[in-house]
């Protein structure tokens, strides 16, 4: 037996390229479905976890999926806005606490998330450096965002305009970084968190400018009467919100009408959640309430349906690959006829020769399974980071 294994081993090592390719091919066939299962399992677990941790979402009527994706994962299109009045309305019900969310702006590739201080304990986010948000104009960065933007407390980041072509719309605003969060392995790591009012300033609803009643601002004044001053476009608007110029900032319009992307409602208890949902279930309701778990289950059901097809495809490809590998072995045996005849003529039993060839196949299979197992282990331990890197680097 030792001689059989030895001869098989020597053959495989000598033909290392062929052996390597065979092992790689079989490894891929074995690992691919495992990896797919692993990725889907882990990802769906995390998607469900984040959805399960978010009891109810309120948004404008429209796609529940869009609302859930943007509110939970800050991805996709920003949903249609709803009025800030819903926050007080929910508070008045005494059934839930409301956490406002304002989305749609970015610092580089990182979403600017306008919210309230309640968001941080809700998502179990804690400060790693610096402090929490206190004043408008401040930003607290997720761990990955801080890394990517190379920003730390004391530094600054600049928001991107809503659209490259939006020359008359929102302007970039410089935010002061006051804190960096501990990494959580969730989408919050990518966020640039600001107070909801800061988000409104970024969106152009609030702004700061020179005091128009000050004589030095006369160059910006078009006309003045007893009760109103009309300024022209030359009025200097502040792009930096600092403690020094904060007093010069103001909002236009009624706060109740200011836009939100969504509101996370945290019911006091399960019964309160049901009551709250019931109040907003009417098709005529200006506000839509969504259970993120239901949305995610729906999405994942679709994914898992597709997974079946993918697995069938992988199985077919695998079978074809194995058939090809078998053909390679058979052709290889044909090419080694002289070698086989030599061994038989020297005195080897046909069974021994078959054992040597079979052992070669077995060793390749064992190596492939070990490699697939190793890769599966690596994917289990580091798969999320690897996959995220592959997606973010554009490889996938």
């Amino acid at each position: 037996m030792r001689d059989v294994v030895y001869l098989a081993w020597r053959y495989l090592v000598f033909n290392r390229w062929k052996t390597g390719i065979l092992i790689a091919a079989i490894t891929v066939i074995v690992f691919l479905p495992l990896a797919l299962e692993l990725v889907l399992e882990r990802s769906s677990e995390r998607l469900r976890a984040r959805a399960a941790a978010t009891p109810l979402l309120f948004g404008a009527p429209g796609s529940a999926l869009e609302l859930a994706l943007s509110s939970l994962y800050f991805s996709g299109e920003s949903p249609a806005p709803l009025d800030y009045a819903i926050v007080a309305e929910l508070g008045d019900t005494r059934l839930a606490a409301a956490i406002p969310l304002h989305l749609g702006y970015r610092v580089g590739s990182h979403p600017v998330i306008g919210t309230s201080p309640d968001y941080f304990p809700f998502r179990d986010l804690s400060i790693a450096q610096g402090r929490m948000l206190a004043l408008s104009g401040e930003a607290v960065l997720g761990a990955a965002a801080a890394d990517s933007l190379d920003a730390a407390p004391g530094g600054g980041v600049v928001t991107a305009p809503e659209s490259v072509f939006d020359v008359t719309g929102t302007y970039p605003v410089r935010l002061r970084v006051v804190g960096v969060l501990e990494p959580t392995g969730t989408p919050d790591d990518e966020g640039v968190f600001v107070d909801i009012r800061t988000a409104w300033i970024v969106g152009g609803i609030g702004h700061g400018h020179e005091d128009l009643q000050d004589p030095t601002a006369s160059g910006s004044v078009l006309k003045r009467d007893d009760s109103n001053i009309v300024a022209n476009a030359a009025v200097v608007e502040y792009r930096d919100i600092t403690p020094e110029n904060l007093a010069d900032f103001h909002f236009h319009g009624a706060e109740d009408e200011f836009p939100l992307s969504a509101v996370i409602a945290v019911p006091v208890d399960a019964k309160s959640g049901v009551l709250l949902e019931g109040r907003y279930q009417s098709p005529d309701s200006p506000v839509r309430v969504v259970r993120p778990t239901e949305v995610m289950d729906d999405l994942l059901a679709t994914v898992f349906t597709v997974r079946q097809y993918v697995l069938v495809a992988v199985a077919l490809v695998g079978a074809a690959t194995l058939a090809t590998i078998a053909l390679v072995f058979l052709l290889s045996i044909r090419l080694r006829r002289a070698e086989i005849q030599t061994m038989i003529r020297i005195g080897a039993a046909p069974g021994r020769v078959a054992a040597i060839l079979g052992t070669e196949i077995l060793l390749v299979l064992i190596a492939s399974l070990l490699m697939a197992g190793l890769l599966t282990g690596i994917a289990t331990a580091f798969g999320d980071e690897i996959f995220r890197w592959l997606l973010q680097s554009g490889v996938l």
């Binding site: 001689d3 001869l7 030599t342 020297i346 005195g347």
Partner: protein, 222 residues
């Protein structure tokens, strides 16, 4: 050493037929078998090695009628008592020269290296001039070196009988003579019997006897 009586062999699907009424080789003898291509030289060697079995008649080697032995016993006999040298050397490309020399010991669990095997290998390698090549692979050797390695492999288990099938067929004239001398020297040194198939008349002089295949009734079956 060798005794064939009334041997009659046909290939299974018809075609070639070999008839050898009588063929004897004494122990220690050196016999060259001459014949044209397709005359049955290799078939005769196969019958002497026990690789093939005659349809009729007997083949006796070293007192053993191998033609009557079952498959396993014939293999056992062959691997212990007979050394084979092939025209195309037939060294395994993925084994070193040393591993090729020791290949017979890996072909059957019944043949195991003994205390002298290592010394025998070293001596054979030195005497055949490939002592410094043992760690090389066959494709790193010259033709002549490869045939010398094949000769060593055939002798490593100290067989009683060497069957060589055109061992110099792939060599240039200079190496032919050299290898043949080497082979004859080793055979004599080990006290073995040599039956060598060749079609090269220039190499016949050192042999005790030359047998022509046409002396046997080898012919296409009617």
């Amino acid at each position: 050493m060798i005794s064939i009586r009334n041997l009659d062999f046909r290939f299974p699907r018809g075609g070639f037929r070999l008839v050898v009424p009588r063929f004897d080789v004494p122990a220690g003898g050196r016999v060259a078998i001459l014949g044209a291509s397709g005359s049955g030289k290799t078939t005769l060697l196969d019958l002497l090695a026990g690789i093939r079995v005659p349809d009729a008649g007997s083949v006796t080697v070293a007192g053993q009628e191998i033609s009557r032995l079952p498959d396993t016993a014939r293999r056992h006999f062959r691997i212990h008592r007979i050394g084979l040298i092939f025209q195309a050397f037939e060294l395994l490309e993925y084994l070193t020269v040393q591993e090729n020399l020791l290949l017979p010991y890996r072909m059957s669990p019944s043949l195991r290296p003994d205390a002298d095997t290592g010394a025998r290998l070293s001596r054979l390698a030195e005497e055949t001039g490939i002592g410094g090549r043992l760690r090389r692979y066959p494709d790193q050797l010259s033709h002549g070196e490869r045939q010398r390695a094949a000769i060593c492999r055939a002798l490593i288990a100290a067989p009683d009988l060497i069957l060589a099938d055109e061992p110099t067929g792939n060599l240039d004239p200079e190496n032919k003579r050299r290898v043949l001398d080497l082979l004859l020297g080793q055979v004599a040194g080990h006290g073995a019997t040599l039956v060598m198939v060749t079609h090269d008349h220039d190499l016949l002089e050192p042999f005790d006897r030359v047998v022509q295949m046409r002396d046997f009734h080898g012919a296409e079956a009617a």
